[in-house]
């Protein structure tokens, strides 16, 4: 069972992109790669138009489709709740990208899949979740169940 999960209150998102840039500057993926981004979706016609903003990153699904699609078992769902990638094993076939409904997996210069790992690679506790810590409105949060 998952110990931690992201929650997102879309109605409080002001599309300031702080989560996106915090992840970028704290996790340092190469230029062109992002583990998190802000997207918007509009519906209706002017002037009755409605716009929804959302932060988009790996959802760390309970049953990850990317994991199922990976031919070399490089993707794993671990006890903490995170879905992680073993870069050693990854062969860069991009089948995970085809399987993911949210278009999350990124591929850097070395061709390996990279994405949000819920800061599993980060050792200092205080350094984790820069995305959540930057959100000014509390729209984007992480819930951690400490009891398990």
């Amino acid at each position: 069972m998952s110990r931690k999960r992201f929650i997102f209150h879309a109605e409080l998102c002001i599309a300031c992109h702080a989560c996106e840039v915090a992840c970028k500057t704290w996790r340092n993926p190469e230029n062109g790669i992002k583990y998190r981004r802000i997207e918007s979706e509009e519906s209706g016609r002017f002037p009755d138009v409605c716009v929804q903003y959302r932060t988009v990153g790996c959802l760390h699904c309970e049953k990850p489709l990317c994991m199922k699609a990976c031919p070399v078992n490089a993707i794993k769902k671990i006890n903490s709740g995170s879905v992680i990638v073993n870069e050693e094993k990854c062969i860069g076939c991009r089948k995970c990208l085809n399987a993911c409904p949210w278009n999350i997996p990124c591929f850097g210069k070395n061709g390996k899949m990279r994405k949000c790992d819920m800061c599993e690679k980060i050792i200092p506790e205080a350094m984790k979740y820069p995305c959540v810590k930057a959100c000014p409105t509390g729209a984007f949060q992480i819930v951690i169940d400490d009891d398990l």
Partner: protein, 740 residues
């Protein structure tokens, strides 16, 4: 099961534990990424003498741990390959970009010699300093000018002062929206989500939303604050005065008034009542493009909600009707009884302790004011709260027209005249012709090739900067890292230049510590003591509770103009303004039609059928800065025009197409974004596109035709100016077409 919630930002302990485990250093600092002092504080992490990343400081009053996209990208900005490294002296022709390295001493000597000679030959007023956005060096720059003898602080004409001027002369002060206690907040030409996302503006918006207060937004396109609002008033850019005047018509006609307040505290209600009869909601719809029913509904909603407030933004100031808009809005606040009451617009509440003011209001004599090359407000109303100011564009124009006289030296500290003001073609000519031109910045800038001297200044991260106030605390701003080049701070520039010009007695003999001690003298502390308190020193003062309905005091606010002791001579709200009338300006707010509008020149409209305006700020950039910061450039890689599907379809334009936008004054090339978020008759672009981003392989763009600089599209005829406050219109008519 115990749920742990993650809080915003970092505490000092958390920051120190990170630094320890990463083998880094951490320092408390102050975020320099947007112009107006937002007062956000941060922790910066340093490895091998370089800043590697930043985080929001939870202990900070303004941002309470949050930090926006710009603040989080500060390390990339600080370490950018575009940083200037040394003072430069021009060797080639203007515009060629050939320089040689010189020392700071040489540079300051050259500037001082030039200013001395020019002061003798042409008078001190031949010097103009172009003003950046509200920055912390504004006061020292104004003091320098005042002591030198020039009133020509060239202010942009579109930022804060325009609104404040009309408010002060109508209701005696700046009305602060009491968003925290309101049932209805109106964001009018304001962007609370992007101008201060980590501070109070966005916090107030989301708190109001959570409280289920009603939110109304008045602007031409849907931005995040509109997405949160109950009602969107999709106004045609530049027509806010017409909306406010037709709302006043409804409010007065339907008698939704606070008669007691009007009786006791308003001057000229009968005249106003008569005046707004012609501004019917049907007329309002014709001008603003907002449905008549919506104007009526909006007017009723505001007038009949007892706790209602209005947040007026810079959007109101980008129009040739800026003063009429603000005067009409201020009048509306007054006649509906929404002034200085809980949940409404508050006036004149006590501020926290302030350092000793370094402005020299004592030097602003009538003779001094009379020397203004292009007075921003009429000379009869100078000085205003920021001293004397000349209109930015007109100041530059004087170099070419030589009227009323020629500016001989331009100093541009942290401002880019080719991007920041209208008509870059004319600005370019003026920069080629001006006798002496100095640019000062941390980063390479568009005007550099034209400068005689380029001065590189330090960021707040690499040299100590003057202390700041955070409510009751004095916060020091020590350096965190070693400077990347041969820098001084902008403060040292003014202090040391003043000393060379013989103004040492007024400038602490060029000594930064003495300058700081002077500012601190109000609190009885010394800079050496403050430096030992990285968390700041608390000033014990009695700040009284908020009091309401202080009309007697507010409407008697003393003026800075010697011949006019009060802003409101009747000690009442100036619905009918006798001061303006006596100087030949409109006694009541009047809407003036401009040729370049959808209801203006019909012939022009045939060739250019769409109304264009621009955004002043964005989630990624501050004005024309920060385009070179990779993490920010990735958010908004290219200049883009927002265009409605109807307008796009008949022009065969799809999202992502490269399009040409042509106005009667010039053309630019941008990408199209087809969206329902904008009025079908309006297109919007972002201001300030020029700089490339080398890390992402993006080249610099042209500044004039063919680039992305929206100022190339606007006119500069007399008609674009507000007659009272010299605000410049950000509207013109355009045609948009596919560009192959």
């Amino acid at each position: 099961m115990e749920l742990k919630k993650i809080k915003k930002g970092l505490t000092r302990d958390e920051a120190e534990s990170i630094a320890y485990s990463m083998n880094e250093q951490v320092k408390a600092s102050y975020c320099p990424m947007c112009g107006p002092n937002a007062n956000c504080r941060n922790y910066v992490f340093i490895k091998d003498g370089k800043i590697v990343r930043t985080a929001g400081m939870r202990e900070a009053e303004a941002n309470r741990g949050a930090l926006c996209a710009k603040g989080l990208a500060a390390a990339e900005w600080q370490n950018s390959c575009d940083r200037l490294t040394t003072p430069l002296l021009r060797m080639g022709k203007r515009g060629e970009g050939k320089f040689k390295k010189i020392s700071w001493n040489e540079a300051l000597d050259i500037i001082a010699d030039k200013l001395k000679t020019q002061k003798e030959k042409y008078g001190p007023e031949s010097l103009a300093i172009l003003s950046p956005a509200l920055r912390d060096y504004k006061e020292i720059s104004l003091r320098f000018l005042a002591v030198h003898g020039s009133p020509n602080h060239a202010h942009s004409g579109i930022c804060a002062l325009q609104n404040l001027f009309s408010f002060f002369y109508t209701i005696g002060g700046a009305p602060v929206a009491d968003v925290a206690n309101t049932d209805l907040v109106i964001y009018w030409g304001k962007q609370p989500a992007y101008s201060g996302p980590s501070g109070a503006p966005a916090r107030n918006l989301t708190e109001a939303y959570k409280r289920r207060a009603r939110i109304v937004t008045v602007k031409p396109s849907v931005e995040p604050d509109v997405a949160m609002s109950n009602m969107w008033i999709p106004i045609r850019p530049g027509t806010d005065a017409a909306l406010a005047l037709s709302m006043l018509h409804v409010i007065i006609k339907e008698n939704l008034l606070d008669h007691d307040f009007i009786e006791k505290w308003c001057n000229g209600f009968e005249e106003l009542k008569e005046h707004v009869k012609k501004y019917t909601p049907a007329w309002g719809e014709y001008i603003t493009g907002i449905k008549e029913e919506q104007i009526i509904h909006f007017a009723r909603l505001y007038a009949t909600t007892p706790k209602a407030c209005i947040e007026c933004g810079n959007g109101l100031e980008h129009s040739s009707n800026a003063s009429a808009a603000v005067r009409a809005i201020a009048s509306m606040m007054a006649v509906t009884g929404h002034l200085d009451r809980k949940g409404c617009n508050l006036l004149g509440n006590p501020r926290g302790p302030e350092p000793k003011n370094i402005m020299r209001f004592d030097l602003y004599t009538e003779e001094f004011v009379d020397k203004l090359v292009a007075s921003e407000m009429p000379k009869a109303f100078m000085p205003f709260i920021e001293g004397t100011s000349s209109a930015y564009f007109k100041t530059i124009e004087s170099i070419l027209t030589k009227k009323p006289y020629e500016i001989k030296t331009l100093i541009a500290p942290g401002t880019q005249p080719l991007l920041s003001t209208r008509n870059p073609k004319l600005v370019k000519k003026a920069l080629e012709e001006v006798e002496f031109f100095v640019t000062i910045d941390v980063m390479r800038m568009a005007e550099m090739p034209y400068a005689d001297i380029v001065l590189p200044v330090a960021t707040g991260f690499e040299m100590e900067h003057p202390f700041v106030m955070e409510k009751n605390r004095v916060i020091p701003r020590p350096a965190c890292v070693k400077p990347l080049g041969d820098y001084k701070t902008i403060f040292h520039f003014f202090l040391e230049l003043a000393e060379r010009l013989g103004y040492g007695a007024d400038f602490w003999h060029g000594n930064f510590d003495e300058f700081e001690n002077y500012r601190l003298s109000e609190f009885g502390i010394k800079i050496d003591e403050l430096r030992n308190h990285s968390e700041g020193i608390e000033i014990k003062t009695e700040v009284g509770n908020i009091k309401y309905e202080k009309y007697e005091k507010i409407f008697s606010t003393p003026n800075f103009v010697r011949s006019k002791p009060l802003f409101l001579p009747q000690k009442k709200v100036a619905l009918y303004n006798t001061l303006f009338e006596s100087e030949g300006y409109d006694a009541l707010p009047v809407y003036r039609e401009s040729d370049e509008s959808l209801t203006g020149d019909k012939e022009l409209l045939k060739r250019y059928p769409l109304l264009l305006s621009d955004y002043h700020t964005s989630k990624a950039y501050s004005a024309s800065w920060l385009r070179n910061v990779p993490s920010l450039r990735e958010l908004m890689p290219e200049p883009t025009v927002e265009i409605h599907p109807e307008a796009a379809k008949i022009r065969g334009i799809n999202t992502g197409d490269t399009v040409k936008i042509e106005s009667p004054h010039g053309w630019i090339v941008v990408k199209a974004e087809v969206t329902e978020r904008i009025r079908p008759d309006t297109v919007m672009v972002l201001h300030g596109w020029w700089m490339g981003c080398r890390e992402l392989g993006k080249d610099d763009l042209h500044i004039c035709d063919g680039g992305g600089n929206v100022n190339n599209l606007y006119g500069t005829s007399r008609q674009v100016y507000d007659p009272l406050v010299t605000a410049m219109s950000s509207q013109t008519l355009v045609e948009v077409s596919r560009y192959e």
